[in-house]
């Protein structure tokens, strides 16, 4: 049997190429996930450990993260050790650069003057060496538009102190990171605002502050890491989920390869049995073939994965240095896991086709070749049961908003569809191909002739397409609903409100000229004292709010007799509750109004035009409401407008920030998911090319006969292309229907309970693009097999065995 085994490998090795590629891709996927995880971990480790690299002990709270150290005790402890200790922590303070206000939550941390304890890395300028100097984190500098040489006032009132920026630094340790760093004596100016989380110590630790423990730097880093690690780990689990999908798709591709090859070789096997090979010998030889394919493909996949993973880390380091990525050591468990998964997938996928090999009787060799591909009856009972159970589960899931039930139901429905594939898919292929002329009809018949093979081929694509469409539709729904929600919460991107002075037309013109402003409208009103509010506020009316508001101006439509107040702008100061009746007084006129609340337009009360008319005869411009253009940088636009607002004593309400970052996050999620699913789809397309390529070999005589009967080369190529396109179209259309259905179920189960008034949003354009891409990819998958098929001359094809 050894000779047979080797000869089979030699003869058929080329036919395993596509299947091997599928396994390779899936294994490489797993390994890349492993390497990225390990890189992220070591990056975190390096970063976390940076402040303690020269320490012998790290003093930190006993009950971290739920307890803190008393700053006074820590300061005393640190002072006692002098040069041999360095405290790590920060103070959160307001800050100004000249007259320009910086973030209210500017964080200030210590920077050591000695090389031993300094962990920040200099990016430009120099390190601060004395009181009055500061280093700014490069990203903070970018966001706040700060540069070396700027003067910054940190703190307000008595605690205010001026520093000069002398350098920009990078901060590799996320937990110790601050926006700016000053020397320790300077930092002690704000000792009342200081939080100190840990102290790095050299030499004897001595008596510890109360509630503190001393650890080795390694033990300390490990403790902090496990905390952050959970996030990295859950990310890896999600990535592994996608890798699992890719592996599943590979199973389908390989199973198809083996069943096609074995069907073709069934007579060989029968002949072997005729000449005396035992059943076990035949099976063992076949299993060994699968094992060789599995081992080689998994090995290649592991190597490719290692290379790709390290390449990706280099790319991430170069493009996004903010992401902590360290040099990954080879994650041995992942490598072994990936390899084992690849091998297991191959063996599992070859199992079913091998069972047919076992059943072959020696007599099969003596029968004429017709009827070897006996049509297997496929029962519809099991798939139907799965469908019914799945749909019922989905119904209950929507009713109870249960994600677990939804996943179970979705899985069951999908399994039902996959299992009914051999019955369903050939019919769909026939229906799709029927009206398109004889070549396409022949292609459809070809596909329908091997129901199982066709079903498995489409199943692999179906998995990827269904998930892609579900993600696209789900995300579109989520995004539209979220946009509506945000539109209600932040109707005005940026509002500039002036309670002190009316705004001038000149200011409005300058606002409109600011880059990033798409539209700006003046809002008229009068300053009035609202009972219950500390300061007078502008009471305005804005019939034109719809021009700039994200909610179409709904928030500004207030009934006469009511006043709508921005709850966020006053926060705790808002003593009038919704529904209260309050007196509103402007000059000598007064009126009773009922309070309504909303959010997102700043410290102004919105009323109906009639209401305003009773308060004043001459409304003045008191606010400018601004709609930012798409892609405008919220921080920059806010800062620019702030500069215009400050001199006239106006305030800025920036709702754009929240808006943009949420939108960006969703975009990133969507594209990551699509990118990861793309891998499964690529494997599925390799599968289509594979099935087609193998059946081209198998059907060489059929093709030769058709050529003899008058099928031109072009027609033959088109027939094969049509077969691939039909397969991918059926898979895509079926996947689109399923995907939209699943997205709908998810919308009802998850989105609706979370966001009231959520409505299903189907991204028709994206769906169209997916279907088109799938059809084109199917065409692409047919190129090689079709060219090979058309090269064979009719005579050569007829003389084949």
């Amino acid at each position: 049997m050894r000779a047979v085994f080797l000869a089979s490998l030699r003869t058929y090795s080329r036919r395993y190429v596509a299947a091997a590629v599928a396994v390779t891709v899936a294994v490489a996927f797993v390994v890349v996930v492993g390497i990225l995880t390990s890189g992220a971990r070591s990056g975190l480790m390096d970063g976390l450990g940076a402040p303690y690299r020269n320490a012998e002990h790290v003093v930190s709270p006993e009950g971290w993260p739920s307890s803190e150290l008393d700053p006074a005790a820590v300061i005393a402890f640190t002072e006692r050790h002098g040069e041999n200790a360095s405290a790590i922590g920060r103070a959160t303070l307001p800050a100004h650069a000249g007259s320009r206000k910086l973030s209210d939550t500017t964080t200030v941390g210590p920077i050591a003057t000695s090389q031993v304890w300094r962990w920040q890395e200099l990016s430009s300028g120099r390190f601060p060496s004395r009181t009055g100097e500061a280093a700014v984190d490069v990203y903070a500098a970018l966001a706040e538009d700060l540069a070396v040489g700027d003067r910054i006032t940190i703190g307000v009132g008595a605690a205010a102190s001026d520093v000069q920026v002398v350098g920009l630094v990078e901060s590799p340790s996320p937990p110790a990171q601050a926006s700016m760093y000053v020397t320790w004596p300077q930092l002690l100016l704000w000792r009342d605002h200081l939080h100190l989380g840990s102290v790095a110590v050299r030499g004897e630790v001595g008596p510890l502050p109360e509630g503190a423990k001393a650890l080795s730097p390694e033990a300390f880093t490990a403790e902090r890491l496990t905390h952050v690690q959970n996030r990295v780990d859950s990310l890896s689990v999600m990535l592994l989920l996608f890798a699992g999908i890719a592996l599943f798709v590979s199973i389908l591709v390989i199973a198809n390869t083996f069943s096609i090859l074995f069907a073709r070789r069934l007579r060989d096997f029968a002949l072997l049995r005729c000449v005396g090979a035992t059943r076990r010998q035949v099976v063992r030889s076949v299993r060994r073939e699968a094992a060789v394919v599995g081992v080689l493909a998994s090995l290649t996949g592991t190597l490719v994965g290692v290379g790709l993973g390290h390449g990706l880390i280099a790319v991430i380091d170069a493009l996004a240095s903010a992401v902590p990525m360290g040099a990954a050591e080879l994650p041995v468990p992942w490598l072994l896991g990936g390899f084992a998964a690849g091998l297991a997938v191959t063996m599992v996928a070859s199992w079913l086709p091998t069972r047919r090999v076992i059943r072959v009787s020696p007599l099969a060799a003596l029968r004429p070749d017709a009827g070897v591909d006996a049509r297997t009856r496929t029962g519809l009972a099991r798939p139907a049961l799965l469908l019914v159970i799945g749909l019922a589960l989905l119904g209950v899931a929507m009713d109870r908003s249960s994600t677990a039930l939804m996943l179970a139901g979705g899985g069951s429905v999908f399994a039902g569809v996959l299992l009914s594939g051999p019955v369903l898919v050939p019919r769909l292929v026939r229906i799709a191909g029927a009206p398109l002329g004889p070549t396409v009809r022949l292609a459809a018949e070809n596909a329908a002739h091997h129901p199982r093979r066709t079903a498995t081929t489409t199943a692999s694509l179906l998995v990827g397409v269904t998930l892609t469409i579900a993600v696209l539709t789900g995300m579109a729904t989520w995004r539209t609903s979220l946009n509506e929600q945000i539109g209600r919460d932040h109707p005005i991107d940026i509002a500039l409100t002036s309670p002190t002075r009316p705004l001038t037309t000149d200011l409005l013109t300058r606002i409109r000229r600011t880059p990033g402003v798409e539209r700006a409208i003046p809002v008229y009103g009068a300053v009035a004292q609202v009972a219950g509010l500390h300061d007078p506020i502008p009471v305005v009316t804005a019939p034109a709010a719809g021009q700039v508001a994200r909610d179409g101006g709904v928030f500004a439509r207030v009934e006469p007799g009511k006043i709508r107040i921005d709850a966020d702008a006053f926060g705790k100061d808002l003593t009038p509750r919704p529904g209260d009746r309050v007196t509103v007084r402007a000059g000598d006129r007064r009126i009773q109004l009922q309070v309504a609340v909303g959010t997102g337009w700043g410290p102004a009360g919105v009323v109906a035009p009639e209401t305003l008319a009773t308060l004043t005869d001459a409304p003045e411009p008191r606010a400018v409401w601004i709609r930012a253009s798409t892609g405008a940088d919220p921080a920059r636009l806010g800062a620019d407008l702030d500069e215009l607002a400050d001199p006239v004593g106006a305030t800025i309400e920036n709702g754009l920030r929240t808006w943009e970052s949420l939108d960006q996050q969703l975009q990133i999620y969507t594209w990551s998911a699509l990118g990861l699913l793309g891998i499964a789809i690529v494997i599925a397309l390799i599968g289509i090319a594979n099935t087609l390529g193998l059946s081209v070999l198998e059907r060489a005589r059929e093709h030769a006969m058709l050529r003899a009967l008058g099928l031109t080369r072009g027609q033959l190529r088109r027939m094969l292309a049509a077969e691939a396109v039909l397969l991918s179209l059926v898979a895509t259309v079926l996947g689109t229907v399923l995907g939209v259905g699943f997205a709908w179920a998810a919308c009802e189960t998850i989105v609706k309970p979370a966001l009231r008034d959520a409505t299903m949003h189907i991204p028709w354009l994206s769906l169209g693009v997916v279907v088109l891409i799938a059809a084109l990819a199917g065409l692409l998958a047919a190129v090689l097999p079709a060219r090979r098929a058309a090269r064979v001359s009719p005579v050569a094809g007829l003389s084949l065995d």
Binding site: P368, A370, G371, D373, L436, G437, P438, T439, V440, R441, L442, A443, E445, N446, A448, H449, R701, E702, M705, L706, R707, A708, L709, G710, L711, T712, R713, G714, Q715, R718, A721, A722, V725, S793, P794, V795, L798
Partner: protein, 243 residues
């Protein structure tokens, strides 16, 4: 994808009046396979006229070049030298697409085995050449299918797939398919090679009836003397030459 409706290659003019009563003519036909030491001269200068409307058998031992000759006459393969003229067309002047369309319109085939597409029913197999040519299956075509199926005794088998037919029935369906386009020439390469003697006799009888009743020109390649006995003319080949 419906390329068959508009083929790029030019349609061939049908020559209504072929010279004399000759359906196909070969002159100094040679065919060589391979080169150097492994060169095989399968045909060594064949001159042959096949009479229109006749049933000709090409006889000879295995390896004498019968199939090669048939392939060259049928436009399945290009000859190495000499000329082949079928229905007034010099096959040497046609490219692959033109040859394919020529076969579709002028030639029918019956092979030793593997004649039918397994995924199509017998009826669908019969009309396949019409469909490949982009012709619509009109009433006249359906009428002809019925006529051929009757003559060949497969009328009650049209809805079956090849796997459900006996070897003899498969060959008779193949004959019907070859005749559906009313070809100038029908070639059969060892059509009875896989059949038992009773079934062989049936198939051969049908071939002869096609020639007689439908006026078809039939060329059959065989190495069996019994089969050749059904033909009107017998051409015997020996070592690439007509003996």
């Amino acid at each position: 994808m419906t390329g068959s409706r508009h083929d790029p290659a030019p349609r061939l003019p049908r020559t209504a009046a072929s010279p004399g009563a000759v359906a196909a003519r070969a002159r100094n036909l040679t065919k060589t396979y391979g080169r150097g030491a492994t060169q095989v001269h399968a045909l060594r200068g064949i001159d042959l006229d096949l009479p229109r409307g006749g049933f000709t058998a090409i006889m000879g031992p295995s390896g004498s070049g019968k199939s090669t000759l048939m392939h060259c006459l049928a436009g399945l393969d290009q000859a190495s030298g000499g000329t082949v003229t079928v229905a007034g067309t010099d096959l040497g002047s046609l490219d692959d697409d033109a040859l394919t369309i020529f076969r579709r319109e002028h030639v029918g085939f019956v092979f030793q085995s593997f004649n039918l597409l397994p995924m199509l029913t017998a009826g669908e197999n019969i009309v396949l050449p019409l469909e490949l040519g982009g012709r619509r299956i009109d009433d006249a075509a359906r009428e002809r299918v019925r006529l051929l199926a009757d003559i060949l005794g497969v009328a009650d088998r049209l809805a079956h797939r090849p796997a459900e037919l006996s070897g003899g029935q498969q060959q008779r369906v193949a004959i019907a398919r070859a005749l559906i386009t009313q070809p100038d020439l029908l070639f059969a390469d060892e059509p009875t090679g896989n059949l038992d003697s009773t079934t062989s006799a049936e198939v051969l009888d049908h071939l002869r009836r096609s020639a007689r009743e439908l006026g078809q020109t039939v060329v059959m390649v065989t190495h069996e003397r019994d089969a050749a006995a059904y033909a009107d003319h017998v051409v015997t080949m020996q070592d690439g030459r007509i003996a």
